[in-house]
Amino acid sequence: MTTAFASETISAALLRSDRFRIEREADWQRLEAIVTAAEKGRLRRISDEDLLALPQLYRTVASSLSIARAISLDAATLRYLEALVQRAWFVVYGPRSSLIEWLRGFLGGGWSRSVRGLGQDLLTSLLVMIAGALVGWLLVAHDPEWYRALVPGGMGDTRVPGASPAVLRETIFGHSGQDGLGAFAAFLFSNNARVSLLAFSLGFAFGIPTLLLLVQNTAIVGAMLWLYHGAGLTVDFAAWLSVHGTTELFAIFLSGAAGLHIGRSMAFPGTRSVLTAAAEAGRRSAQVMAGVVLMLIVAALLEGFARQLVDNTLGRLAIGGFMLAFWLAYFFAFGRAGDRVADRGAGEARTWQ
């Protein structure tokens, strides 16, 4: 009886907007406690009850905010509610997957799906790379001096025009006993990773630097192919290159396609704004690029170990061919059933937007 009387007097003395606040304060505090725990990464410590209540509480507090905006002039309360709704929104709409969960979805179809999503840019990238190799070959065939301009070589490099077939043969066979392969592979990886990240990131200058980078890199391959062709070692060279090259060139091909994808969506955004188009293409390409980094690790391992250990043409061709078949199957045959589900999901999401 006394308490009821006391609370009545208090509520009589208060402003209407303060009464509104006191009635709802408990919900706000509860949401704040949950959000604080979630921000500290202590999701396990939140009780199931609280976790289930989170979306409902978030909506309740969001509606408290819009009511408070309409009826209250208490600046401190308004700022508190704004900050709280914002933090709750970040928790409810934050990154849902941990790195591990994301990785599982990524390897189990997400990656191949985004590669297929690049569409016509895959074709462009492939054509540009073939054209680059042809240009390299033709330039060097026309004037061998081009070789020095195209292929960056150290002083002691014996792979130069005019080298005898025996010398060239030596460069691709007989290194099985070599030391320093591990460090070499790690170096190659971080170097190749940089080239592909560059091909991708330069895409947003409308893709033109990406094209140049692709041509420049495959022209080297073309020029070297010409050199070994002259010594009658075409197949041996192709085998030597294919051990890691089918993976590495595939990775560069994908990063080129990813860069062109961004460039093309920015140059021709269609009905979307340029920024929206860039963001859509950027997200798909980023998936592809995360995979490219994985491919480059595989390529560096193949280059550092498999190529030196397998010292004959047939074995190398088998490894290279297998890797190529593996990537093609993984990207273009794997997880096709998932495409329809994903498309439907996107369609449904659009309905509610």
Partner: protein
Amino acid sequence: MAVTVAVPTRLAHAGRERTLITPEGVALPLTVAARGSRIGALIFDLVLLFTILFLGSIGLMLLAGGVAGLIGRFGTGREAPVALQFLIVVWIIFSFLLRYAYFLFFELGPRGATLGKRRAGIRIAARDGGRLTAEMVIARNLLRDIELFMPVVLISSIGAGSSPAWLAGTAWFALFMLLPCFNRDGLRAGDMIAGTWVVEAPRRKLEATMPVSAAVGGAFQFTDAELAVYGEYELQTLERILREDREAAMVSVQAAIGAKIGRPVDGWNPRPFLEAYYTQLRTRLETGMRMGKRKADKHSGGSS
């Protein structure tokens, strides 16, 4: 979906306020992070990374020295290249992971911010109001590599002696560093590609309701005319002064209000006076709000 709305009160960070419409249709006020705090956060992160890299390198070097000593004492001398090679591989992988994984790990976490960003009170968010996804975080961090580190690679590959390389490197660096200054939302290239932006992440405590003392119906009863001179901006300034509770400020505000409404205030305690004025002004303005009449500040008319 971010739109700028007309806000009734004057704001401290004018020009950086945005309203995001969440998927439930709640208008969520956001403040785009100041460029200064972003640079501060970046510098903090980089200094931290370099310190860790430096300490890690020293640790590995000490380890290498120890291993070399052991080999010198017990080994045949053939183990040295293998052991050192292994350490070099560890170092290359360590520095690679440090550069990429640091940003990814922290920005994918529940706070959406690296340690530097946390210190600066900012975080990343999806620009469309939807979910922040792993792809977005990866995309914005891949781009960081060319924005920041590309000039260094360029200069070191052409040669530090070449002035065109330095010119190109500096121009590149300047272009990407200045990019956030040329758009409203302070987006850098990575934000544009990923569809993210960097916003302030305020954390506030729920403060007590404004004290409503017995003075409401007591000694200070202000007339309608006396309350009509001020608007919401003045009310919220008064609220701040009462919360800060500094005697000197309250005395001068009391004097200013007294002069404005034409009431002698000499000898009266400033706090009860101001509390009474605050409560009555707020009651009046909030009643006006419910009737759809708002008064932004003392310069505006009865409604706005």
